[in-house]
C-alpha cells in the first residue's frame, strides 16, 4: 500500500507533472485518476473503440493500451487541451454546429483523431476522413455528421488562415 514508486515525468496539455505511480498503470487511468482529466473515456479497454484516444509526442494512441512508464518524458495532448483560453477549437465548434456529437462519450477521442488528421492533412478527401477516423467507434451518429464536422472545420480553419 505504502510502496513508493519512482516519479514518472510527462507534459500533459503543456503542463509538466511528475507522478509517483505504478509503472504499469494504464495511461488512461493516470490521466483520469491522478490528473483528474476525465475527458478521456474508456469504452472497451482493449484498443478497439478509440474513446481513450490521446496524442503522445504528436502520435495518436489508445491510452488504455499504454503503460504509463512508456510515456516518461513524453508530451501528451488530451481533449482538455484543445480549447484555448475558453475559445473552442474550430473542430469543437464544427462538431457543435454540424451535430458531430450526440451522446458525447466517443467525442473526446474522435476530436483527437480528427485533430491529428487535419494537422497532417489540412484538406482530406472523404476517403481520407473515413480512414483517419476508422479507429474511433461512434454508435449514435452513423459518422455522417462527424465527417461533415471535419469538412466544416477545414473550411473554418481556411478562413482563419486567410484572415491572417
Amino acid at each position: 500500500m505504502s510502496q513508493t514508486w519512482p516519479a514518472i515525468r510527462m507534459t500533459v496539455n503543456g503542463v509538466e507533472s511528475a507522478l509517483s505511480i505504478p509503472p504499469m498503470k494504464r495511461l488512461l487511468d493516470v490521466l483520469r485518476e491522478d490528473l483528474g482529466l476525465t475527458g478521456t473515456k474508456e469504452g472497451c479497454g482493449e484498443g478497439e473503440c478509440g474513446s481513450c484516444t490521446v496524442r503522445i509526442n504528436g502520435e495518436l494512441a489508445n491510452s488504455c493500451l499504454v503503460p504509463v512508464l512508456q510515456v516518461e518524458g513524453a508530451r501528451i495532448e488530451t481533449v482538455e487541451g484543445l480549447s484555448r483560453k475558453g475559445e473552442m477549437h474550430p473542430l469543437q465548434q464544427a462538431f457543435l454546429s454540424c451535430g458531430g456529437a450526440q451522446c458525447g462519450i466517443c467525442t473526446p477521442g474522435m476530436l483527437m483523431a480528427a485533430t491529428h488528421l487535419l494537422q497532417h492533412n489540412p484538406h482530406p478527401t472523404m476517403a481520407q476522413i473515413r480512414e483517419g477516423l476508422s479507429g474511433n467507434l461512434c454508435r449514435c451518429t452513423g459518422f455522417i455528421r462527424i465527417f461533415e464536422s471535419v469538412i466544416a472545420a477545414t473550411a473554418q480553419t481556411d478562413q482563419v488562415t486567410d484572415a491572417r
Binding site: 483520469r32 482529466l37 476525465t38 475527458g39 478521456t40 473515456k41 474508456e42 469504452g43 472497451c44 479497454g45 482493449e46 478497439e48 473503440c49 474513446s51 488530451t78 481533449v79 482538455e80 484543445l82 480549447s83 473552442m88 469543437q92 462538431f95 457543435l96 454546429s97 454540424c98 451535430g99 456529437a101 450526440q102 451522446c103 458525447g104 462519450i105 466517443c106 467525442t107 473526446p108 476530436l111 476522413i129 473515413r130 480512414e131 477516423l133 476508422s134 474511433n136 467507434l137 461512434c138 454508435r139 449514435c140 451518429t141 452513423g142 459518422f143 455522417i144 455528421r145 462527424i146 465527417f147
Partner: protein, 751 residues
C-alpha cells in the same frame, strides 16, 4: 402558438444544449464521478445456464471482513426487479436461470483487492438441463419458466383468414429469422449509490428511466417514494439498453452501499456489460400470404415467436409492438397474427431501438420481395398495389384518419435514387463482373408513443417553472442520452412561451426534483412529452395574464418582468400538465383492436448493395431514406437520428452477431462483436416530408426508432436483386453468403 410553419425556434437547428460540455470533455459521466470515501463494487455471476445453487464458498485466503459481501439475505425488501411480471430476482435466489446472473455482490475500497476477492468466491451447483432456442422452448420437454415456458402470447384477428385460401390465386409461405443484437452504447452500464438509514437511498446512474429505477429500489429496500432518490448522470448512449437494466445495477450498488456504509461505484467493463446485460430479442416469423391474380393481398397469416431469455422483463411489451408492426404498411382485409414470447436460459432480452418492430418489419419486407419474385411482379409495383391509404384500416381495424403518403414517399425514394435507371445498369453490368450490385426497398411505419392504452396508463406529468434568476426551467424526467431531449424540449418551451432558447434550462434529471413525465422510450419524448410542455406553456401564459397582468402581445423582457411580479405576489410561477389523449383513441387490450398508436411515422428506404462473389462480402454502397415524421423540430438532430439509426440497422443486417456458447455470450468484446466503422457506413441521402400532426408538439411525431426498422430488409432485398438469392436470416455474414452462393446453380434455384 400555432403548429403552422411560422416558428422562430422550433424547426431551427439550435445547437445541442449540453453540447459545449461534451465537446470540451467536461461533461460528467458516471465513471467520471468520485465520492469521498467511495468503494468499488463487483458482481459474482453464474457460470452455468441453469441449476440450483448448492453452496457458496468464500476462500479463506481473503480477509473477508475488509469487504462488504451482499447475498440475498441482505435484501431488506423484495428480491425482484420491478417491471411487468416481477419474475426477475435482484440476486439469484437458490437457483440460476442464465449465465452471468448476479449471485453475490462485493465491495472494497481497493479495486485490486476487489478483483482478488471476486476470484475467491466459488459457487457450487446442481446442474439442471437448459433450453437455448425458441424451438427447444416451444417443445416443452424441459420447462424453465412458469408452467409452459410461454412468457406471453397475443392473437390478433381481422376478417376471416381461413376463408380465403381456397380462392387465392397465389399462396406464398416463408420463414424469416433475426438474431440477437447488442446495443453497444460506448458508455457501459454503471451506478453509484449512497445509503443513509434516515434519508434512505440515493443513486446516480447512466440510465433512461429514473422513475423505473425508483420503483424497483422501493421494492428491493421496502422504502417509500420519498426515501429513494434517483439521479441520471450524463449518459453515453442507451438505445433501449438502459431502459430496464439500470434498475438491476442501481439496486446492486445500493445494497453494497447499505452493507459497506460507504458510497459504492459499480461500473461494468465492456466484457461484463456485453455478457450480462440485455440485447435485442431474436425472432422467427412465419408468413403465409394469399393474393389475388392482380397481386392484391387477400390474407396474411403470421406466426411470430421471440426468444425472451430467462425472465419476462420487457418481453410482453416488445412482443406487442412486434405483433402490431408485423403486417407492414399494407391494406389487407384478413389478417391473423399469433405471437408468442418463449423463455430460454440466456440473459433476458430487452428494449432496443424499434422494440420488436425491426424484427417483424424485416420479415414482412423480405416477404414482400419473395412474393414479388414468386408471382413475377416488380417489388415496387407489388408494394404500391397494397399500400395503406387514408381511410383504410390496419390489422387492428384502426382507421387511418391522418394524411398517409406512402406513394409519395416511394416516388421520392425512387426518383432520388434514380432507381429504375440504376437497376437497369446493374442488370447489364452484373453479368460481366465478379461484384454484383442490386437495389432493395423497404417500406414501413413506426407507431409513436406507448402501445394501445399505454399512454393513458402512464398519465405523464410534466411542466415548467420560472427561477428567481429569470430562467424558464423544464420539469421532466425525460432524459438526454444523445438523442436530443434537452434541446428539443427547450426549443418547444421557448417557442411556446416566446422567449429565447437560451432562456430555457433543464431541471436536473432527479426524481426528487422533477415530476414523472414517463420513461424516455418509444419515440414518445418530442411528440407526447413535448405536447404536454406546449400545453403547460400556454397554461403559464394564461395564469400570468389572469393573475399578474401579462400584456398581450408581450416581449421577452415583459414576460420575465411579469414573472417577477407574480413571484412577489403569489410565489414561484409554475405550470404542470398531464397527458391528454388525442380524440378518437380507443384500444381494447382483450381483443387487440382499436387505435394501436396515436400516430404513425412512415418511411421508404432504398439500399444499394454490392456482393463480391469472390470474397462473399456484402457492402452497402449507398442508402436513401425518405420519411414522414410530422413536423421536424430540429433538422440537424433529426438527421443525426436518421443516419445513426440506419448505421445501426446496417450493423444488424451484415455485421453484428452475438455468438452463444452454452448460454454465455462468447464474443463479449469489441474485438469480435463487430459494428460498422467510419469506413463501413455508406453515403446516406435522407429526405423528409413534413405533415404536422395536430396532437404532437408543434406537429411532431416519433422519429428516433423509425430509421432503424428498414435497413435490414432493404439490404437483403438488394442482395436478392444482385444475386438472385433470397436470404431469410440476419445477421448475414460472408460465410452465410458463401454457403448459398457457392452451391451449384441447380440447387440455388431451389432456395
Amino acid at each position: 402558438m400555432s403548429t403552422a410553419a411560422t416558428t422562430r425556434i422550433v424547426g431551427a437547428s439550435v445547437p445541442r444544449k449540453e453540447g459545449v460540455d461534451k465537446l470540451l470533455g467536461r461533461a460528467r459521466y458516471l465513471d467520471d464521478l468520485e465520492f469521498e470515501g467511495m468503494w468499488h463494487g463487483a458482481t459474482v455471476r453464474s457460470t452455468i445456464p441453469r441449476g440450483n445453487i448448492r453452496e457458496l464458498h468464500f476462500d479463506p485466503c481473503i480477509e473477508w471482513s475488509e469487504l462488504a459481501v451482499v447475498t440475498t439475505f441482505d435484501i431488506p425488501g423484495k428480491n425482484h426487479i420491478q417491471l411487468i411480471v416481477n419474475d426477475q430476482p435482484c440476486l439469484a435466489d437458490g437457483c440460476v436461470n442464465h449465465c452471468d446472473e448476479a449471485i453475490v455482490l462485493l465491495a472494497h475500497h481497493d479495486k485490486r483487492k476487489l478483483r482478488e476477492a471476486l476470484d475467491a468466491v466459488r459457487v457450487e451447483y446442481d446442474l439442471l438441463p437448459p433450453v437455448f432456442t425458441i424451438e427447444e422452448s416451444e417443445q416443452r420437454d424441459v420447462i424453465v419458466w412458469g408452467e409452459d415456458n410461454l412468457l406471453k402470447s397475443y392473437l390478433l384477428e381481422k376478417g376471416d383468414v381461413d376463408s380465403v385460401w381456397s380462392r387465392a390465386a397465389y399462396i406464398v409461405e416463408r420463414e424469416y429469422r433475426t438474431g440477437a443484437q447488442e446495443h453497444l452504447y460506448i458508455e457501459n452500464n454503471g451506478a453509484i449509490a449512497e445509503y443513509n438509514a434516515e434519508t434512505g437511498v440515493t443513486v446516480w446512474g447512466s440510465l433512461q428511466c429514473p422513475f423505473y429505477v425508483q420503483k424497483s429500489l422501493m421494492a428491493v429496500f421496502g422504502l417509500p417514494e420519498n426515501k429513494v432518490r434517483v439521479i441520471q448522470t450524463e449518459t453515453g448512449g442507451a438505445f433501449g439498453g438502459k431502459e430496464d437494466y439500470p434498475s438491476m445495477i442501481c439496486a446492486h450498488a445500493a445494497l453494497l452501499a447499505m452493507k459497506s456504509g460507504h458510497p459504492v461505484k459499480l461500473a461494468y467493463d465492456r466484457m461484463e456489460d456485453l455478457a450480462a446485460t440485455t440485447k435485442r430479442h431474436p425472432s422467427r416469423t412465419r408468413h403465409r400470404t394469399a393474393l389475388d391474380a392482380d397481386g392484391k393481398l387477400l390474407a396474411m397469416d403470421i406466426d411470430l415467436a421471440t426468444d425472451g431469455g430467462a425472465y419476462a422483463t420487457l418481453s410482453p411489451t416488445v412482443l406487442s409492438r412486434a405483433t402490431l408492426h408485423s403486417p407492414g404498411p399494407y391494406a389487407c382485409p384478413n389478417v391473423r397474427v399469433h405471437s408468442r414470447a418463449w423463455a430460454t436460459n440466456t440473459v433476458p432480452y430487452g428494449a432496443f431501438r424499434g422494440f420488436g418492430a425491426p424484427q417483424t418489419i424485416f420479415a414482412i419486407e423480405r416477404h414482400i420481395d419473395e412474393i414479388a419474385a414468386t408471382i413475377g411482379m416488380d417489388p415496387v409495383e407489388l408494394r404500391r398495389r397494397n399500400f395503406l391509404h387514408t381511410g383504410d384500416t390496419t390489422a387492428t381495424e384502426q382507421l387511418m384518419r391522418e394524411p398517409l403518403i406512402l406513394d409519395q414517399l416511394l416516388d421520392r425514394a425512387l426518383a432520388e435514387s434514380d432507381y429504375h435507371a440504376r437497376r437497369f445498369r446493374f442488370s447489364q453490368e452484373n453479368a460481366a463482373t465478379a461484384v454484383k450490385r442490386g437495389l432493395g426497398i423497404a417500406a414501413f411505419y413506426h407507431g409513436s408513443g406507448f402501445t394501445g392504452s399505454g399512454e393513458r396508463y402512464l398519465n405523464s406529468l410534466a411542466g415548467i417553472d420560472v427561477t428567481p434568476e429569470g430562467k424558464v426551467r423544464v420539469l421532466v424526467s425525460s432524459t438526454e442520452f444523445g438523442q436530443g431531449t434537452n434541446t428539443i424540449l427547450a426549443q418547444i418551451v421557448a417557442e411556446a412561451i416566446g422567449v429565447d432558447c437560451d432562456d430555457v434550462i433543464m431541471a436536473p434529471p432527479d426524481t426528487s426534483a422533477v415530476p414523472n413525465s414517463g420513461p424516455t422510450v418509444a419515440s414518445r419524448t418530442s411528440m407526447v412529452v413535448g405536447r404536454i410542455l406546449q400545453r403547460a406553456a400556454a397554461q403559464l401564459i394564461q395564469m400570468l395574464q389572469n393573475q399578474a397582468g401579462l400584456p398581450q402581445p408581450f416581449t421577452r423582457e415583459g414576460f420575465f418582468a411579469t414573472c417577477a411580479r407574480y413571484r412577489a405576489a403569489h410565489g414561484k410561477p409554475i405550470s404542470l400538465c398531464r397527458y391528454e389523449a388525442p380524440p378518437d383513441i380507443f384500444w381494447d387490450d382483450q381483443t387487440y383492436r382499436g387505435e394501436a398508436y396515436g400516430a404513425y411515422s412512415w418511411c421508404v428506404q432504398i439500399a444499394q448493395v454490392a456482393v463480391d462473389t469472390i470474397t462473399y462480402s456484402a457492402e452497402v454502397e449507398e442508402f436513401w431514406s425518405v420519411q414522414e415524421v410530422g413536423r421536424v423540430l430540429n433538422p440537424v438532430l433529426a438527421g443525426g437520428q436518421i443516419e445513426g439509426g440506419i448505421a445501426q440497422g446496417i450493423g444488424y443486417a451484415l455485421y453484428e452477431k452475438v455468438v452463444w456458447q452454452d448460454g454465455h455470450m462468447a464474443n463479449n468484446q469489441m474485438t469480435n462483436y463487430i459494428m460498422p466503422t467510419a469506413e463501413d457506413v455508406p453515403p446516406i441521402h435522407s429526405f423528409i416530408e413534413e405533415i404536422p400532426f395536430a396532437y404532437g408538439a408543434f406537429g411532431a411525431k416519433g422519429l428516433g426508432e423509425l430509421p432503424h426498422d428498414g435497413p435490414a430488409p432493404a439490404i437483403l432485398n438488394a442482395i436478392r436483386d444482385a444475386t438472385g438469392v433470397g436470404f431469410t436470416a440476419i445477421p448475414l455474414l460472408p460465410e452465410d453468403i458463401f454457403e448459398k452462393l457457392a452451391e451449384p446453380v441447380e440447387e440455388r434455384a431451389m432456395v
